[in-house]
Symmetry: C2
Amino acid sequence: MPQVRPMRADARRNYERLLKVAAEAFAEHGEGASLDDIAKRAGVGSGTLYRHFPTRQALLEAAYVERIEAIAARADELAGHLPPGEALVEWLNELGVGMIQVRGLKALLGSTVTDGSSAAATLCADTMRSAVTRLVEAAQREGTLRPDVEPIEVLRLAHGVATASELADGEGKAIRRYLALLTEGLRPGT
Amino acid sequence: MPQVRPMRADARRNYERLLKVAAEAFAEHGEGASLDDIAKRAGVGSGTLYRHFPTRQALLEAAYVERIEAIAARADELAGHLPPGEALVEWLNELGVGMIQVRGLKALLGSTVTDGSSAAATLCADTMRSAVTRLVEAAQREGTLRPDVEPIEVLRLAHGVATASELADGEGKAIRRYLALLTEGLRPGT
DNA sequence: ACCTGAACACCGTTCAAGT
DNA sequence: ACCTGAACACCGTTCAAGT
C-alpha cells in the first residue's frame, strides 16, 4: 500500500523551495529563525509552510537530514580507519564541532536524545542512535570503553561536552579538551 | 562618594514588587517569561520595568541573587563536613539538581561562565567563581582532582552534566550518574 | 488538493506625555 | 525623577476564500 501519493507539482516545488530556504535561514539565524520569513523568502504563504511542516521541529529536521546522514556515514568511515576507541572519540569530536559550528544542529540533536517517551522515533534520532551504537559496542568489545554505558548516554554526554565548550569560546576549540576530560576522568592520572 | 542615591519611595516600592513578581514568573515559566506580564502583575508600566532592569538578564540575575548566594554558602558548609574531593562532587550534584529543578537558573548560570570577554564581571559570576575556586583548589591540594583543571572549567562541565541529565529525564535523576562518569572517566576501571 | 494572505493573539522595546 | 501606556515592529498560528 503506497501511502505516499505523489505530490502535486506545485506542492512538490513549494516543499523543496521551503527546505532550501529553511536550511539557509537556520544556518544564518539559528534554530529560532523566523518561520514567516522563511515562507516569504520561499515565495509561499505562511499557511503552506504549516501544511508541509506542522512544527518548527519538523522543518528543522527535514532541513538537516542530509547533514545528519553525513555524520552517521562518517562514523563508519572512522571505524574503518581507526581502532574502535579512537574512532569513537574522533567521531564525538567531529560531532561536537558540528553542533557548535552548524547553527541549529545542536538543538535538533538534543531533541533526538530526550527521554522521548512521547516523541515518536524520528528518522534523525534513529540514524544517530544506530551510528553511535556501532561505535560504542565496538569500543566496549575492544575494552577501551566502560561496559556499563549505553549508546544514547554517550550522545547525551556529547551534547553536554558541546554545551560546556560553547560556554568556553563559542567556537569549537575546547571540544577536544573537554572530551579528553570526560574520557580520562577528573581524577588525577596515576 | 556614595554613588547610589537612595531611591524615591515609589521607585523603591516598584523595584521590589518587580523582583518578587519576576521570581515567581521565572519559576513558573522559565527564563523566557513574558516581561510585559511581569510588569502588569507588578501593577507597573512596562517602561518602569525597563528603567530598573534594562535587560532580561539583569532582571533574571536580580531575581536570583539570594539563591546564588545560598549555593555559594553551601560550598563552604560542605567543605566543613566532607573531605575536599567529596565536598566538590556533592556540591556539583546539588548545583546540577538546582539547575534542572529551578527554572531559569541554568540559563542564568550559563551566562556567568561564558567567555565573558565583553560581559562585565557580574555579582553572580563572582560569587559562583569564588565558591567553586575554594572547592577546586582544596581538592587539588588533597590530590583527588587533576591539577590542570581550572575552577571555571569545572563550572562549565557541571553545566554540561546538567544538560546531559536534562536530556535524560527532565528531572535531576541522572545527575549523580553523569557526574560519576565525568569524575571517573569513560575508560573501564582497572 | 493545495495555496494565499488577512486576522488574531501574542511578544519586546521605545518614548511622548504626564505627575 | 520617575511612571504610564500607547505605538511600533515584530512574532507564530489559524482559517475562510480562492484556484
